[in-house]
C-alpha cells in the first residue's frame, strides 16, 4: 500500500463527497454522518452519473441521475438494480484523508 494524503476530513462535507482526479478518471471520497470515509469510482455503472453528487444516507449513496443506490463499502448496487462500482482503500489519520495509491494504479493494470 502507498498512502497518499489527499486532504483534510474537514474539506469533505458531512453526508457529502468530493472527487479526486486520477489519470483513470475521478474517484469519489465520501464522508458519512459518523465521520467515516469511503472511496469509490465516481462513475455510475448505469449511465455514468457522478456518484459524488448523490445524497449520502447511512452507508449508501443514491446516484443523482436516476436514483440507483450503492453501498459505499462494497460498491454493490442495492435492491433490484444490478452493478458494482470499484471501491478503494481509504483511511483517516489525524484528520487527514489517505487514499491507497497502489490500488489506484491497479485500476489501469486491470
Amino acid at each position: 500500500m502507498s498512502w497518499i494524503d489527499i486532504g483534510s476530513i474537514d474539506d469533505v462535507p458531512v453526508r457529502g463527497a468530493r472527487v479526486v482526479k486520477t489519470a483513470q478518471g475521478c474517484v469519489a471520497v465520501f464522508r458519512t454522518a459518523a465521520d467515516e470515509v469511503f472511496a469509490m469510482s465516481d462513475t455510475c455503472p448505469h449511465k455514468a452519473g457522478p456518484l459524488s453528487e448523490g445524497i449520502v444516507h447511512g452507508h449508501k449513496v443514491t446516484c443523482p441521475l436516476h436514483n440507483w443506490v450503492f453501498s459505499l463499502e462494497t460498491g454493490e448496487a442495492q435492491g433490484a438494480d444490478d452493478g458494482r462500482v470499484p471501491t478503494y482503500p481509504v483511511r483517516i489519520d489525524a484528520g487527514r484523508i489517505l487514499l491507497d495509491g497502489a490500488e489506484l494504479a491497479k485500476r489501469t493494470a486491470a
Binding site: 486532504g7 462535507p13 457529502g16 482526479k21 483513470q24 458519512t32 459518523a34
Partner: protein
C-alpha cells in the same frame, strides 16, 4: 531488601496501584508519594456530585491520612516533582532530591485550554480538580451569576448541570452539531439536548468561540464567531484533555501522545513505570477509569516481579447528571455488514440502538431507559451470538417475547392540546372527547368536531387518534407512507412537525419514530423542506439533504456538466446583459446557448469547477441566479402589455417583474411558474401556469393550478383583483399557503385538487386578514431565503469546494 519506590502524582491510577502493592506485599517497597494537589487521593469522577451539591468532598476521599500512615506511605502532598535525573536515579522537587530504585509516573492529564484571546483572564476555569470545583461553587454564590461552558462533552455537561443546580444561568457552547458526539449518535444527542434545555440550560451547538472578552483582567463575556456575545462571570473550558508528559519528555523517555509503555506498563527506561491517563499503550490513550484500574493491577504486579500483561477492554460511558439516563458503548457507526436495531418510544422519550455485526453486538447507544445497558455491554464484551434472541433483543433480558415497536407511538405521545386539524383548530383532546362520547368513525368525528372536514390533509392523523383511543375496535386504513423509514404519510408528518414544534431533523426522527438513523434519499429532502418552510428562523437548511441541482445551484446534465440560467426579470433583458452572457459563453467555452421556454437564456454544458467564476462574472454584470434548478420560483413570463401592444389593458410586464422580484429565492414543495398576459389573447400563456394572471380593463383575473407538463390543465379562477397590489397579495398568499400545506413534490394543481379550490379561496380571497397573515409569513421567510445563491458562493471557499479535492493524475500515472 526493601527498595525505594517514588510515585509522581497522587491520583486515581496511582492510588489503585499503591493499594494493590501494599495489600500483596506490604514490605516490598518504601513508598514516597508526590502530589501537586495539597491533599491525598480522592475519587475524581465524583467531583460532579460535589459541584451539584449532592455530595461533599469528605464523602469522596478514597485514602485519608490514616490510610497512608497505616501503610507506611510517605506523603509529599502539595509538592510538585520538577525533574527526573535518570542517570543518578533521583527526582527533583522543592524539597530537594529524592532517590528511587523504581519510579512510577502517574501524572494524569492536563485539561486543554484553547489558546484564544482572553484564555488567561481571571474567571476562565478548567474542570479537573477540587480547586476548580470550589472555584465554580464560589462563583455560583453570587445571585444571578452567569456561566458559559465551552464543550458539550461529558465534563462540560456535568459542569453545566452542576452549575445550573447551584442556581447559575448557564450556556453551553459546543462546536459540533450534537452533544457528546463521541459517545452519542444524533438521535441520543437530540434527546439529551432536549432534557438540558428543559432544565433551563441554554445549549448552542455548531457554535464556534472566537474570543474571551474581559474587563479589569476578569472575564466578562464570550464572543462567538457569528458575533453573538454571551455575558458571563465564569467561563469553564471543558474541551478535552492532554496526557501530562512534560516530565517524561524532559527526561527523554519515549513519548508520543502519551508516555510510551509496554504491556507491563514499563517505559523506555526499565526502572521507570507509568500508569493512568499520562500513558500511551499500543497507540491508545485513556480517559476513563476502568482501563486505568486494569493498568494499576498490572503495574503493581510488574513492580513485584510477577508476570502480567495489560490488554485494553471496551469501555462504556454514562453521564453523571441526576435524572439523565444515557448509556453508550462500543462502535455505533453504521455499516453495510452491520445491522441496526432501532427502538424509539416518543411518548417516554426513549431511544435505543444496537449495532450488530455477524450476529454480535458491537455497539449500543441508549437514552431514557438504560436499565439494560450493562446486559447489552456484557453480551458485547463476551461476543455472544445473539441470533436466537434477535427479534426481542432490544427489549432487554426481561422481555424475551415482548411487544413490537408501535407505529402509532408518535400520535399516542401527543399531548391533549396538540393541534390535529389546522383548518378548524381542533386539538387531540377534543377528538378524544368526541370518541369517548361515542364517535367511532371518521365521519362521526368529522361531524362532531369538524376535524379533517376542510382540506382533509389531517385525515390520517384523525384516524390514528381513533385507532389509539379505540384500540382494536378501529381498523386503520392503510395510507401510503413517505418511505420505508416511517409509517406516517407526508400529510401526517407535516401536521406533526407543526403541532409538536419539531424544528430539527433529529427531532423529527425521534419524535415521529423513524426506523433509520438519518432517513434516506426519499424522505430527507422532504423533511428538510418541511422544516425550513415551517420554521424559517429556527431551522437551518441542510444542503446535504437536497438533490444535486439544489446543492450545486445548477442543473446537472447527462454528462455531468451543468447549465447556467441567469434571471431575466419578466423576460426583459438589455444589450449589456446579453453582452455579458455572450462574454461568459466565450470565456467558459459554453457549447450550447439556448433560448428557453421560460423567456430566458440557458448556457448549457458548463464544467462544475467553472461555475463559481462564471457566476461571479454574471453577478458583476448585475445578473442573479435564475433558479432554473430549484423547487422554487422559476420564471414569470410576461407579454409586452400596455408598453407597446395595441390591445394591452394593464402593465403586464411591470406586474410580472414585480411578482418575480417579490417571490424569487423562496423554496416551495415543487417548482412554481407564473405568467402575466396583458389581455385575454394570452400571449404569455398564463392559463397553464401555477399562477397565471390575465389583465382586463377592470383589473386582474388571477388563475391558479394550471399545468402544462406531464399533465395538461387550464388554470381555475381564484379571484378577480381590482388593483395590482391586490393581485400581488393574492399571489403571494397563495404561494405561502402552498408552501405551508402541500406535500413535497406536488405541483400546485395536484395540491389544490386534494384540498379543494374553495378551501384555498376561503383563506386567500375571502378572509383578507388571513391573506395578509400569509403574506407576512412569506415575507418573514424571505428575510432568510431571498439571497442570491451565486453572490453567496462567488468566493474562494466555494471555488475550492466545487473543485476536485485533489489531483492525482500525475501520481497515479507513475
Amino acid at each position: 531488601m526493601t527498595q525505594k519506590l517514588v510515585v509522581i502524582g497522587a491520583g486515581m491510577a496511582s492510588g489503585r496501584a499503591i493499594e494493590h502493592l501494599v495489600e500483596t506485599a506490604p514490605d516490598a517497597y518504601e513508598i514516597t508519594l508526590f502530589g501537586t494537589e495539597p491533599r491525598g487521593n480522592y475519587n475524581r469522577i465524583m467531583l460532579s456530585p460535589v459541584l451539584s451539591g449532592e455530595k461533599t468532598y469528605e464523602e469522596i476521599v478514597t485514602h485519608d491520612a490514616d490510610w497512608y500512615a497505616t501503610h507506611g506511605v510517605t506523603c509529599r502532598f502539595g509538592e510538585t516533582v520538577t525533574g527526573i535525573d535518570r542517570a543518578r536515579k533521583v527526582v527533583l522537587s522543592a524539597g530537594g532530591e529524592t532517590p528511587y530504585d523504581k519510579l512510577l509516573i502517574a501524572s494524569g492529564s492536563n485539561p486543554f485550554i484553547i489558546p484564544m484571546p482572553g484564555h488567561d483572564l481571571d474567571g476562565v476555569l478548567a474542570y479537573r480538580d477540587l480547586d476548580d470545583t470550589y472555584a465554580m461553587m464560589k462563583a455560583a454564590e453570587k445571585p444571578g451569576a452567569k456561566a458559559v461552558v465551552i464543550g458539550g462533552g461529558l465534563l462540560g455537561l456535568e459542569a453545566a448541570a452542576g452549575l445550573k443546580m447551584r442556581g447559575m444561568d448557564v450556556t453551553v457552547v459546543h462546536l459540533m452539531g450534537h452533544l457528546m458526539e463521541r459517545q452519542l449518535d444524533e438521535a441520543a444527542g437530540y434527546l439529551l439536548r432536549k432534557e438540558l434545555v428543559g432544565r433551563g440550560i441554554n445549549v448552542l451547538c455548531s457554535s464556534n468561540s472566537k474570543e474571551i472578552l474581559g474587563e479589569d483582567g476578569k472575564v466578562r463575556a464570550l464572543l462567538l464567531d457569528n458575533g453573538t456575545e454571551l455575558p458571563c462571570d465564569i467561563l469553564v473550558m471543558a474541551v478535552g484533555i492532554r496526557p501530562n508528559t512534560a516530565l517524561a519528555k524532559e527526561a527523554e523517555l519515549a513519548v508520543g501522545r502519551g508516555i510510551h509503555v509496554d504491556d507491563q506498563m514499563v517505559t523506555s527506561d526499565p526502572d521507570i513505570l507509568s500508569v493512568g491517563e499520562c500513558v500511551e499503550h499500543d497507540g491508545a490513550i485513556f480517559g476513563l477509569v476502568a482501563p486505568l484500574y486494569d493498568q494499576a493491577k498490572i503495574v503493581a504486579k510488574t513492580l513485584l516481579g510477577e508476570a502480567a500483561a495489560f490488554a485494553p477492554k471496551q469501555t462504556s460511558t454514562k453521564l453523571k447528571v441526576t435524572g439523565v439516563d444515557l448509556f453508550s458503548a462500543g462502535d455505533f457507526a453504521e455499516g453495510d455488514d452491520r445491522e441496526d436495531i432501532v427502538f424509539r418510544d416518543p411518548a417516554r422519550g426513549v431511544y435505543k440502538r444496537l449495532v450488530l455485526q455477524d450476529n454480535r453486538i458491537i455497539g449500543a447507544v441508549m437514552y431514557g431507559d438504560t436499565a439494560d445497558g450493562n446486559w447489552f455491554f456484557g453480551l458485547m464484551k463476551d461476543g455472544t451470538d445473539v441470533s436466537d434472541m434477535r427479534e426481542t433483543l432490544i427489549f432487554g433480558p426481561a422481555y424475551q417475547g415482548g411487544a413490537a415497536a408501535d407505529p402509532m407511538a408518535a400520535v399516542a405521545a401527543l399531548p391533549a392540546d396538540a393541534e390535529i386539524c389546522g383548518c378548524n383548530g381542533v386539538c387531540k383532546g377534543q377528538i378524544v372527547e368526541a370518541i369517548q362520547g361515542g364517535a367511532t368513525t371518521l365521519e362521526d368525528v368529522r361531524a362532531q368536531t369538524k376535524a379533517s372536514g376542510s382540506c382533509g390533509t389531517c385525515t390520517g392523523l384523525v384516524e390514528q387518534v381513533l385507532a389509539v383511543t379505540l384500540g382494536d375496535d378501529f381498523v386503520l386504513p392503510t395510507a401510503k407512507p413517505v418511505c420505508t423509514c416511517t409509517d406516517l404519510t407526508h400529510e401526517d408528518v407535516r401536521r406533526l412537525i407543526k403541532s409538536q414544534e419539531l424544528k430539527s431533523q433529529p427531532a423529527v426522527w425521534q419524535e415521529l419514530g423513524w426506523t433509520t438513523p438519518n432517513g434516506c434519499h426519499v424522505c430527507r429532502p422532504a423533511i428538510n423542506f418541511y422544516l425550513l418552510a415551517d420554521w424559517p428562523l429556527e431551522y437551518q437548511d441542510d444542503p446535504q439533504s437536497r438533490f444535486v441541482n439544489e446543492r450545486n445551484h445548477a442543473n446537472i446534465q447527462k454528462d455531468g456538466t451543468y447549465s447556467v440560467v441567469p434571471r431575466m426579470w419578466g423576460g426583459i433583458t438589455t444589450a449589456a446583459e446579453l453582452r455579458a452572457i455572450a462574454d461568459a459563453a466565450d470565456k467558459y467555452n459554453v457549447p450550447t446557448v439556448k433560448v428557453t421556454g421560460g423567456q430566458r437564456i440557458d448556457l448549457l454544458g458548463v464544467k462544475k469547477e467553472d461555475l463559481p467564476r462564471m457566476w461571479a462574472d454574471l453577478n458583476a454584470a448585475g445578473m442573479v441566479s435564475g433558479h432554473a434548478y430549484t423547487k422554487g420560483l422559476r420564471t414569470v413570463k410576461t407579454c409586452v402589455g400596455t408598453d407597446h401592444c395595441r390591445f394591452g389593458t394593464q402593465d403586464s410586464t411591470g406586474l410580472g417583474i414585480k411578482l418575480e422580484k417579490r417571490l424569487w429565492g423562496s423554496w416551495t414543495p415543487h417548482k412554481v411558474k407564473m405568467a402575466v398576459s396583458g389581455c385575454p389573447r394570452n400571449c404569455a400563456e398564463s392559463t397553464c401556469k401555477d399562477v397565471g394572471i390575465i389583465c382586463v380593463d377592470s383589473g386582474y383575473e388571477v388563475g391558479v393550478a394550471g399545468a402544462a407538463g406531464m399533465d395538461l390543465k387550464e388554470t381555475e379562477a381564484l379571484a378577480k383583483a381590482t388593483t395590482e397590489q391586490e393581485a400581488i397579495d393574492m399571489t403571494v398568499a397563495f404561494v405561502q399557503l402552498y408552501r405551508e400545506n402541500a406535500r413535497y413534490l406536488d405541483r400546485p394543481y395536484k395540491w389544490v385538487d386534494k384540498v379543494g379550490l374553495d378551501w384555498v379561496k376561503a383563506r386567500v380571497v375571502d378572509d383578507v386578514e388571513n391573506r395578509m397573515a400569509l403574506v407576512a409569513r412569506f415575507d418573514l421567510s424571505q428575510t432568510v431565503y431571498q439571497k442570491d445563491p451565486w453572490a453567496e458562493r462567488a468566493d474562494a471557499k466555494t471555488q475550492r469546494a466545487w473543485s476536485a479535492l485533489a489531483d492525482l493524475t500525475l501520481e497515479a500515472a507513475e
